[in-house]
């Protein structure tokens, strides 16, 4: 199971949880399961999220792999100038 940590306002949307364990092998699966687990988080998972998977930031990457013991941070998407 990957450990998913909520940063920023995602924690509020996850009912105050700091982290949760989710069984998923891809980002898409993880987001789907997170949405089922936290219905108020679900509408925010389509756009505007980035995932740090074991420290490496992935944006718009539904099929990036998640390993069984991955440490995942759900965070806002980042752009730049």
């Amino acid at each position: 199971m990957a450990r998913v940590h909520f940063t920023g306002n995602f924690r509020q949307l996850a009912g105050g949880d700091e982290e949760v364990s989710i069984d998923a092998s891809t980002v898409r699966e993880l987001l789907l399961k997170l949405g089922e687990h936290y219905p108020s988080l679900a509408p925010h998972l389509d756009e505007g999220v980035a995932l740090a998977i074991d420290g490496v930031i992935h944006q718009d990457a539904l099929f990036s792999r998640i390993e069984p013991h991955s440490d995942v941070h759900l965070m806002p998407k980042i752009a730049g100038g």
């Binding site: 920023g8 930031i57 100038g81």
Partner: protein, 766 residues
């Protein structure tokens, strides 16, 4: 090649790390290069914009009849020419964008929300006629009270910009609307417990003024709509694919019917990631049947294109006597301008990013005010929050009697540190930049009496994203490289070097160009310091694709299996003794017979680059302060930054130097001056003073290289981080010189004089 300051070693690579003349260089030193305003088309009209003279006003009616009757006027567009779009956040260009706001920002609908807000646009046969026509448009306004500053905007009885705006991010949602669009929070640990462990806690409030990106080339475009609904757009932009998406949406077009070509771009720094004139020019061209050129005056650039936000911050940091930072807390309020979407979120995430903190809490407020909607400016959001934090770190170092570099080193984020914004850092180079600072001759040089020395560090994430590239192999073995990221600062050179390295060919054999939106797949904009990294990954992938095809051709020619062919030093060779005895085939050999061996050879890549390496820098500055005039002079400046791997070191140095000087302007001079009616008083380079050549010394650079593991050559973005440290570094230096800590930017002569006067009334400060 002339020797440069800075410099890197060129270990193990042939092209990466060298400094060839950039491939687009001659065009740029001879005046050939065509920028946004340099295109002339036959039958072209000139478009001009009517802008609101009021900071906040309801628009009762707009009467264009007299203007339309003027000979030479071919079309006028107003709010009635653009369909309203529903509130819907979509990822496009600069983070999330709400098309309901975009359509209102390019052309006011119900209300004018800032001085300079477009109300109508005219296309006419000459600029003179277009301007006359603007004078004939009658607008009936109901002038409303306005708010310019955060305090005014969040006051309980403040006039509202958007009567339906309910603050997001607060539970339960507030029942009444306000000018606060959003509240964000990043926290881990328990800050109060952290502060309880501290021996010294410093808390201060800071403010910064809006500053303009200040690109020397104003916004400009030429739109040409054909009768069959197909259109072409030429414009100066950081991302023509993003422009295409926005314009197609605003004009109700299919994206494939709109071909956007990026001109050479005369600076952007984040400010050319959004659309202003482009949808108006397209609408005017559609209506008039002529090509329409629109160019902003410098005054319009200041009044109506995006500054970086003015901000307010309260920061509190605790430290033990032996220099361990126990907790950090910040509250940040950023001006968004007329529509929500300030970079307060990245500001919050970056505030404490350089430090390994167990307890941290940052809260941010996105506040709308009657100013132009802010746009990205180099590391958007980070300079303001890191300025506040880095000022306090300096003060803490003094309070506990520790060297400020030492204090930073003791607490520096490193590989494995949990970043203040959540995830764990991979390999990063902050410690290396601090160590380089500590051992730099600048840091140890004696300081003349009365002068001050300051140090500060800075962080930016960097991004990857959707990117395409094509390598077309010519019949003589030379290569045309097509990239989709506009080249602002020499990135074509960096892409050619990476291609040369990957293919093993001479860099001179590669000619790059930036393809239009019909020649490549969707490519995200040049921004987020992503181009050398993400377009770099794309050209490396395209090179691999081409090498695969080259090896196949060689295998066919030699009649051996393809896995018995290897590519090395720019030629196909039999892989090992068992593969057979054949003379190597060079790129030119294979190119010459491409037609006969299977057809043209084209290497392609279409990727979504992940794993951009975060970037850290540390700056050193010496200042002198004229006690009579209040002028702060930069006597010496050194930028130290981790580049992962400097592909073309001269252009990396250039990014570090340019970012530092923009930061010097931010720290010392640049600010917007508004009158009581909310009108900008200094919309020109005379009164909005960016640093000139005689204001600054040489900017020394040290490039540190801690490889980014997700890039084959270790490249990290470098463009944004250098603007982060200067404000705090200079404030820390001024404090060293005068014993006065400036918490409000800019430290302009009048403010410095005032502070000096105040400080001298009682016996000198203790």
């Amino acid at each position: 090649m002339a020797a440069q300051n800075g410099g890197t070693t060129n270990g193990g690579t042939r092209w990466i790390g060298t400094r060839p003349v950039r491939p687009d260089g001659v065009d740029k030193v001879t005046g050939r290069a065509r920028f946004g305003a340099d295109l002339h088309l036959p039958n072209m009209l000139v478009g001009k914009v009517l802008r609101s003279p009021h900071a906040h006003a309801r628009i009762r009616s707009i009467d264009t009849s007299a203007a339309l009757a003027l000979p030479g006027v071919k079309a006028i567009v107003t709010r009635d020419d653009f369909d309203d779009l529903p509130s819907e956040f979509v990822p496009a260009g600069e983070m999330l964008i709400n098309y309901r706001d975009v359509v209102r920002n390019v052309m006011a609908r119900e209300k004018a929300l800032f001085e300079g807000h477009p109300l109508a646009a005219v296309a006419a046969t000459s600029e003179k006629v277009a301007k006359e026509a603007l004078d004939l448009i009658r607008v009936d306004y109901e002038v409303l009270p306005h708010v310019l500053d955060i305090d005014e905007a969040i006051a309980p009885d403040a006039p509202l910009l958007h009567e339906d705006m309910i603050t997001a991010g607060v539970e339960p949602p507030p029942s009444a609307p306000s000018n606060v669009a959003k509240v964000v929070e990043f926290a881990h640990g328990d800050v109060e417990a952290g502060f309880a462990e501290a021996d010294v806690v410093v808390e201060r409030e800071f403010s910064t003024q809006p500053v303009h990106q200040g690109y020397i080339e104003p916004h400009s475009c030429v739109a040409s709509f054909a009768e069959d609904g197909q259109a072409e757009l030429w414009c100066t932009t950081q991302g023509h694919f993003v422009v295409r998406g926005h314009c197609a949406k605003l004009l109700g077009m299919e994206v494939s019917k709109l071909r956007v070509t990026a001109s050479e771009i005369g600076g952007g720094f984040g400010g050319k990631t959004v659309v202003y004139l482009e949808p108006l020019a397209l609408a005017l061209s559609r209506k008039s049947g002529h090509p329409v050129k629109m160019t902003m005056s410098r005054e319009e650039v200041f009044r109506a294109s995006g500054p970086a936000p003015g901000t307010w911050a309260r920061v509190r940091v605790g430290v033990t006597k032996d220099g361990r930072i126990t907790a950090g807390e910040a509250e940040l309020k950023y001006q968004a301008g007329a529509f929500q979407g300030s970079p307060v979120q990245p500001g919050c995430m970056c505030a404490f990013a350089p430090y390994d903190l167990e307890h941290v809490k940052v809260t941010g407020y996105d506040v709308v005010v009657n100013r132009p909607k802010v746009a990205a400016y180099r590391a958007p959001g980070a300079p303001q929050s890191e300025y506040a934090v880095e000022s306090i770190i300096d003060e803490l170092a003094k309070r506990i009697g520790m060297d400020p570099v030492e204090l930073r080193l003791k607490n520096a984020a490193r590989e494995g540190t949990r970043a203040a914004y959540g995830p764990t850092f991979g390999p990063i180079g902050l410690v290396e930049t601090l160590e380089a600072a500590r051992s730099h001759e600048h840091y140890r040089a004696p300081l003349a009496p009365g002068r001050g020395r300051g140090v500060a560090s800075g962080f930016w994430f960097n991004i990857g994203g959707e990117t395409c590239a094509t390598l077309n192999l010519g019949e003589d073995g030379t290569i045309a490289l097509v990239a989709g990221t506009p080249d602002i600062g020499g990135s074509r050179a960096a892409l050619c070097l990476q291609t040369a390295e990957a293919l093993g060919v001479d860099v001179e054999k590669i000619r790059p160009l930036i393809g239009d939106t019909s020649t490549l797949g969707y490519t995200f904009l040049t921004g987020g310091s992503r181009t050398a990294f993400a377009s770099g990954l794309a050209v490396i992938e395209a090179s691999k694709d081409m090498i695969g095809q080259l090896c196949e051709r060689a295998a066919k020619i030699w009649n051996i299996p393809v896995d018995a062919v290897e590519w090395a030093d720019g030629e196909a060779r039999p892989a090992g003794a068992n593969a057979g005895e054949f003379d190597p085939l060079t790129l030119a050999d294979l190119a010459g017979v491409a037609g006969k061996t299977g057809g043209p050879i084209v290497g392609r890549a279409q990727i979504n680059a992940q794993g951009a390496g975060p970037s850290f820098g540390t700056h050193l500055v010496d200042v002198d302060v004229d006690r009579e005039t209040g002028r702060v002079t930069i006597e010496r400046y050194t930028v130290i930054q981790d580049a992962g791997k400097a592909v073309h070191p001269s252009y990396v140095e250039g990014q570090l130097q340019g970012g530092a000087v923009q930061g010097i302007g931010w720290a010392l001079n640049e600010e917007y001056v508004y009158d009581e009616y909310g009108r900008l008083q200094n919309p020109g380079f005379l009164d909005y003073r960016i640093p000139v050549c005689s204001d600054v010394p040489m900017i020394d650079t040290v490039i540190v290289e801690v490889a980014n593991p997700t890039h084959p050559y270790g490249v990290r973005g470098v463009g944004e981080t250098p603007i982060v440290p200067p404000m705090a570094a200079i404030a820390n230096a001024v404090e060293g010189a005068l014993g006065i800590r400036f918490t409000d930017l800019p430290m302009s002569p009048p403010r410095v004089l005032k502070a000096l006067e105040e400080a001298h009334i009682p016996e000198a400060a203790d």
